[in-house]
Amino acid sequence: MKRIYLDHAATTPVAPAVLEAMLPYFTEKFGNPSTLYFYGREAKQAIEDAREKVAAIIGARPQEIIFTGGGSESDNYAIKGAAFANEARGKHVITSAVEHHAVFDTCKFLESRGFEVTYLPVDEDGLVSPDEVAKAIRPDTILITIMHANNEVGTIEPIAEIGRIAREKGVYFHTDAVQTAGALPINVDELKVDLLSMSAHKFYGPKGVGVLYVRRGTKLTPLIHGGGQERKRRAGTENVAEIVGLAKALELAQEGMTARNERLIRLRDRLMNGLLEKIPELKLNGHPTRRLPGNVNVSVLYIEGESMLLNLDFKGIAASSGSACTSGSLEPSHVLLAMGMPHEVAHGSLRLTLGNENTEEDVDYILEVLPGIVEKLRAMSPFYSQAHSQARA
């Protein structure tokens, strides 16, 4: 069967050149970087080279790069680490209502341990307002954590503006850049962030490895205590092969980013316009222009997301939805709800995220296939008939 992968926001395949760079570190160059003999030095060199590459790409110093076990660990470390290390100064944290669960649930955990968290609202495009951030800051605020771009609707947040406010007030600022690293240019000084999370598998690197950028002087309590790896900030034998893979993937992502994004945006707009044209009663979600190059998010009124996804899967198309059914929870996407969407519309959301291997043919294929699926499901939907009989009545 022809398969079209349109869920690059969920994960990406490891690029061939990335895998090639990783391979020697599983077998011949397998040393533990903490050891002083040949194999160890070789492995150590590899991770320090990787650290320098990553640092250079995001405008940081190598010592400010900590390799972690992925985006969720980076988020947990940044938030819990800053909270625990600075609680003597205050116990208030500011975040937004549209963060990834790795941030959201971590904030909930902090609440259970005596911290107070402000969840800032967003507008209907999913944007956080820097003014609201400024207003929420209190004398006991120790951390602001706002994502760089949203993983569901693709909206890019005004991080540099928020960073300026945070810095003026002397509050640590973390951004979850898991969706933007490798997709958009990132410079930690321009963004004015103290902490920034990345995850390699979102940019054609391996799963299970990430970065936490930690600005020099930022106080953090470790999340994983133990050996002296990563300058005592993240214990555990380093995942050398995947660290090498992460750096290689970020490097490849950086090269030719502009051209790649132009192409993605063309595909994205073709897809968005096609959907609007071919499917009546369909709503675009997220900001119309401040959005990730590859992200398309729509709500198809009167039908539910999982049943759309299953039907797309029958046709070989891999996509995602903010429906409750796809998350295993009872609630649909908190992101869509925070943007003011009614529950049943949120359940009918469909996220299609394009990647490097997608073509115009892929876009045309889904435009060919989806209308029939929508029609079939609407014919089954009590909401559709209600709305239309009411309209007729």
């Binding site: 999982e306 049943s307 009872l330 089954m380 009590p382 909401f383």
Partner: protein, 134 residues
């Protein structure tokens, strides 16, 4: 995730649609959690002669709706009331555990349709009684 039977009923749902002159209609579910099922039944001599559904919901919701409409055809109302959500899930060779609660409500929708029929029947009877008393 889903059994083959679930996928079959999802992909080729039986008895989709409405019965314009239905004897009973039942609605169950909640748009908040994303599953709403509506079932129409046609009853003759205390027996369900036909059943149709419309469902807004996930694979499990559609498959259970399809399955329950198949299960009830030809059953007496009392027999039909014996059909539980769990029985529907079992008839589909099981459902993932997180689907058991919110997406497995087709039997409830059916029971509501039967209640609706009985309430109507009672109402008709009362109306007839009332008419006779006058």
């Amino acid at each position: 995730m889903y059994s083959e039977k679930v996928m079959d009923h999802f992909q080729n749902p039986r008895n989709v649609g409405e019965i314009p002159d239905a004897d009973g209609v039942g609605l169950e579910g909640n748009p908040v959690c994303g599953d709403v099922m509506q079932i129409w039944i046609k009853v003759k001599d205390d027996r369900i002669m036909d059943a149709k559904f419309k469902t807004f919901g996930c694979g499990a919701a559609i498959a259970t709706s399809s399955m329950v409409t198949e299960l009830v055809k030809g059953k007496t109302l009392d027999e039909a009331l014996q059909i539980s959500n769990a029985a529907v899930a079992q008839a589909l060779d099981g459902l993932p555990s997180h689907k058991m609660h919110c997406s497995n409500l087709a039997a409830d929708a059916l029971h509501k349709a039967i209640d609706d029929y009985r309430n109507k029947a009672r109402g008709d009877a009362q109306a007839k009684d009332a008419g006779a008393a006058n």
